[in-house]
Amino acid sequence: MASTQVILPLPILPEGWTGEKDFRPFSSISTATSRNIEPVGPHFLAHARRKRHQRTFSEDDRIQAQEKVKKVEDDDAGEISEPEDPMLLSRDAKDWKGQDHYAVLGLSKYRYKATEDQIKRAHRKKVLKHHPDKKAAAGSTEDDSFFKCIQKATEILLDPVKRRQFDSVDEAADVDPPSKKETQKGNFYKLWRPVFAAEARFSKIQPVPILGDDKSTKEEVEDFYNFWYNFDSWRSFEYQDEDVPDDNENRDQKRYVERKNNAARKKKKTEDTARLRRLVDDALALDERIKKFRQQERAHKDRRRLEKEAEAKKAAEDAVRAKEEEARARAEAEERAKAEKAEGKKAKDAAKNAVKKNKRVLKGAVKDSNYFCGAGDASASVIDSVLSDVELVISKVDNEELAALAGKLNGKKDAKEVKSVYAEEVKRLQGEGKLKAGDGKTLLD
């Protein structure tokens, strides 16, 4: 609450009044009644705030004031207050092409970044200060040239088309690229970032990829340079037209001027594109990351090659080893086959021998039994027929049967016994059909 005014005067201090530091307390306030305040309304909220945070009035006032100040500061952030250059103030409004519109409105630190709202506010502020009526009231001359400059600047900056035209040629917003030496000495990113940021304002595609830093990935860097090599710019150069065709000139003249202007714009545009390309080339050449990536790639390639070689070597070794293995296996097999062969021969020989022996036994048995002729000498024909029958039997039986037969005959001298063995054998053979009925009849009984 504002302090109240009491109009009745205070009494005069009685004589002899004394007090410690001019103050004399007498008694305290009468006991208060306790009631409920209604928890409603802004003042109650203030009360509740004080009570809950245990603040005194002055503390609360201070805190609230601080917050208010903060709020006001926030509101004022981006407020336009730049000192005005006396050179600027004395500008001629007619030379508006050469004027820095942002500087006129005090927006030089924002330039192309200034929002429409900022421009409007800046205009208002400047008008309030430089309005010719105000100047006249202050007694100075009726020089309204700077006011005209303000109006022109606002007209251009608030018209999106005109503003682009001006921004296109706003050299004050350009950032010169650092030289090679500077870049090598200083921080590449720090030096080049503002350059690209300034160039980015011309991009039709927003947002523009950022330059990044050491840690950018290869893709990011590639994107960045690809973007800049395919840069799509809205920059145009109408603002720098030397002649502006005016309505009272004749058509041909106008067309001529237009043609000339167009040619000039085109030329400047081409130059600008080339300039940008050179700039990106320079940056690319100086960009450590590109080298880094190249090295990385090379290292990667080398590694791959080495790996490949190692692999090939290993494969060759493997092949050799496999071959050796194979050879060994083959040798072993041969060996084994040989051994087996030798073994077979022995057995065969033994079998042959056995057969021979058995044959001998067979023949011997017949001989021993005197060719079944009893006691007398056997005639040659008997011997011959007996032996041929024996031969026949022998030829008809296989080795085992031969061995068995030999076993039966072995040691037998008795002609009957021998003959019965033979007869048995012949019968068996006949039974099996190996001998014809007529064969071996000498051996039969």
């Binding site: 609450m1 302090s3 109240t4 005014q5 009491v6 109009i7 009745l8 005067p9 205070l10 009494p11 005069i12 201090l13 009685p14 009044w17 007090g19 410690e20 530091k21 001019d22 103050f23 004399r24 307390p25 007498f26 008694s27 305290s28 306030i29 009468s30 006991t31 208060a32 009644t33 306790s34 009631r35 409920n36 305040i37 209604e38 928890p39 409603v40 309304g41 802004p42 003042h43 109650f44 909220l45 203030a46 009360h47 509740a48 705030r49 004080r50 009570k51 809950r52 945070h53 005194t56 009035f57 805190i63 609230q64 917050e67 709020k71």
Partner: protein
């Protein structure tokens, strides 16, 4: 008003759309605060800003507001009206009189309900509890507000009469919860009313005593509120549950019924349907009489198929309703007495509620209160706000103030720990002199019933020649002095602002009638402290700041305006060392 408490609000779930709801027995209003901070009352689909708190069920269809009200004639048994006061009450403790002409309350599972034929089939009566009805009513209100705002309303500040019990509040909160409305705060109707006026940009924060007279449809409430630096304390309340706009209607009903009987020999009051028609039309006539000098009354087929047309002028109406008017004034006077105050103490009388549109009520109250008291009613003040909208506006303003806060924050702020505070028993002020009276006149800096802690400052003139002055801070006693008109009465304006011109010369006020003149006179009571300012310049002023702490300790600062230094002193709290420390 502060971001301090709003800081925690960042975490609040989806956007909170808060409205103010004035939930009345007869009518309800909804209001919101626009972006410019202006409270506005929302009209529902029918174009009503006062939405009758009624619901009617016809063949399974629900009617609300004015549409439901018209059903009182034909479908009174299925129309629920005047149910607000039943909310959260026992059947035993309710007064069903207002519901005589609509659905009757019945007892249902220890609460109050209405037996309603909700669906189209005959004889299917379902008991609908009061909380259910409240939920449906609030849902309709919220949907009207949502339609108007284009955003779904999910929270509200709602007003209730000062005598609403804790149980009733809980019932209201849960009923609203079911309707999908989060009740941020329940505030008292009279306080919302005061807030609606105090939130106007042109109003100043003053120490004042406000009488809020809320004359509703079926009941009237009066609250005496001490407004101290924008903080409100209810000093006393008075309620009359059988006095309201309905009584004014009744006066008109009786009048027209008699006229009708005279002509047609049948009393329309004996037929329920005729009575309902009479009631509706009488209310319309009453409203017309609040605006114009005469009101027409016409009912088709009032009784026995006879159409009835008549007019009544305001004078006759005022005569007819004279008794009711005096009932209103008696209620107001009773409340003032209850607060231990005098009509002279009252600085502002706010009339709210539908019946307050009646010019005669404001007129009578104007004669009851002293001239300095402003009567805020449409007929006495050009800038008065529509009395029917006050509560809803106040609720909307409060809703706007707290909508940023967390629920927890609101609960903490409205907790008794914060709200229960000591209030000064006596005014505290400084003693000044007037030229002819050497012993000094008490000038209050803080009025009685000011909640502590409080801080006030004043700039006080010094004698013409300057020099050393004495500042005596003391408690003041208010006395009412009755003067006979002969001796020239002195004006010692009871408020600093009312003091007369700079020389302190008295100016006679009155050449009034023979009546005795009653005035408020301040008497300096207990001296609390004295301070001296030495060497005040000629024509200089002394600024005195008084600060009463929560523990009733008093600290005083005094310095010459524009001067350096000054005196600073503290008087300890009561019970502590009586003389405190310097």
């Amino acid at each position: 008003m502060s971001d301090q408490e709003g800081t925690g609000a960042a975490s609040t779930p989806p956007e909170r759309i808060v409205i103010g709801i004035a939930f009345g027995n007869s009518n309800s209003s909804i209001a919101f605060t626009s972006k410019e901070g202006k409270a506005e009352v929302i009209a529902n689909e029918d174009g009503d800003r006062q939405i009758p708190s009624m619901l009617s069920y016809v063949q399974g269809e629900e009617y609300h507001g004015t549409q439901a009200k018209t059903h009182l004639v034909r479908n009174s048994k299925n129309t629920i009206a005047y149910f607000r006061d039943f909310l959260g009450q026992d059947f035993k403790s309710i007064d069903p009189t207002p519901c005589h002409a609509s659905a009757h309350p019945i007892e249902h599972e220890s609460t109050v309900a209405f037996s309603i034929q909700e669906s189209a089939e005959e004889g299917t009566h379902v008991p609908i509890t009061v909380s259910e009805i409240t939920t449906r009513h609030l849902r309709r209100l919220a949907s009207s507000a949502s339609d108007f705002l284009g955003k779904s309303v999910n929270a509200a500040v709602i007003t209730v009469p000062t005598d609403f019990s804790e149980k009733q509040r809980d019932a209201l909160i849960s009923a609203a919860q079911v309707a999908g409305i989060d009740i941020l705060q329940i505030i008292h109707e009279p306080i919302a009313t005061v807030l609606a006026y105090d939130a106007r940009p042109e109003s100043k924060v003053l120490d004042k005593v406000v009488v809020v007279a809320d004359f509703g449809g079926t009941r009237s409430d009066v609250a005496i509120i001490a407004s101290r630096g924008g903080m409100y304390t209810i000093l006393a309340t008075a309620h009359d549950y059988s006095l309201g706009g309905a009584n004014l209607d009744q006066a008109l009903i009786d009048y027209f019924a008699k006229e009708f009987t005279k002509k047609h020999k049948t009393d329309p009051r004996e037929n329920t349907r005729s009575l309902a028609k009479l009631k509706l039309e009488a209310e319309a006539t009453k409203k017309a009489l609040s605006l114009g000098a005469s009101g027409s009354f016409s009912v088709e087929s009032l009784a026995d198929g006879i159409d009835y047309n008549s007019t009544v002028n305001r004078t006759r109406y005022e005569l007819l309703a004279g008794k009711v008017f005096s009932g209103f004034t008696r209620l107001v006077e009773g409340a003032i007495q209850k607060a231990g105050l005098d009509v002279l103490d009252v600085d502002e009388v706010i009339l709210s509620g539908g019946a307050s549109h009646t010019p005669k009520i404001a007129c009578i109250l104007q004669s009851v209160f002293p001239e300095k008291a402003s009567i805020l009613a449409p007929s006495t003040s050009a800038t008065a706000i529509n009395p029917s909208e006050l509560a809803a506006r106040g609720a909307a303003i409060q809703a706007n103030l707290i909508q940023e806060f967390d629920k927890e924050d609101i609960e903490q702020s409205t907790h008794p720990v914060v709200t229960a505070t000591p209030h000064l028993a006596y005014a505290i002020g400084v003693v000044a002199i007037s030229s002819d009276e050497k012993h000094g006149i008490f000038k209050p800096l803080m009025e009685a019933e000011t909640a502590v802690p409080v801080r006030r400052s004043a700039q006080i003139a010094t004698p013409k020649e300057g020099g050393d002055v004495l500042i005596r801070i003391c408690e003041g006693l208010r006395e009412i002095k009755a003067h006979k008109p002969e001796p020239k009465p002195k004006v010692n304006g009871n408020k600093p602002g009312n003091a007369s011109d700079g020389d302190g010369e008295d100016s006679g006020v009155s050449d009034d009638d023979e009546e005795e003149i009653r005035q408020i006179v301040w008497k300096a009571g207990r001296v609390l402290a004295e301070a001296a300012i030495r060497g005040v310049k000629k024509g200089g002023k002394v600024e005195v700041g008084v600060n009463v702490g929560e523990d009733l300790s008093l600290s005083i600062t005094a310095r010459e305006v524009g001067g350096k230094g000054g005196v600073r002193g503290v008087v300890g709290r009561p019970k502590a060392a009586e003389n405190g420390s310097a």
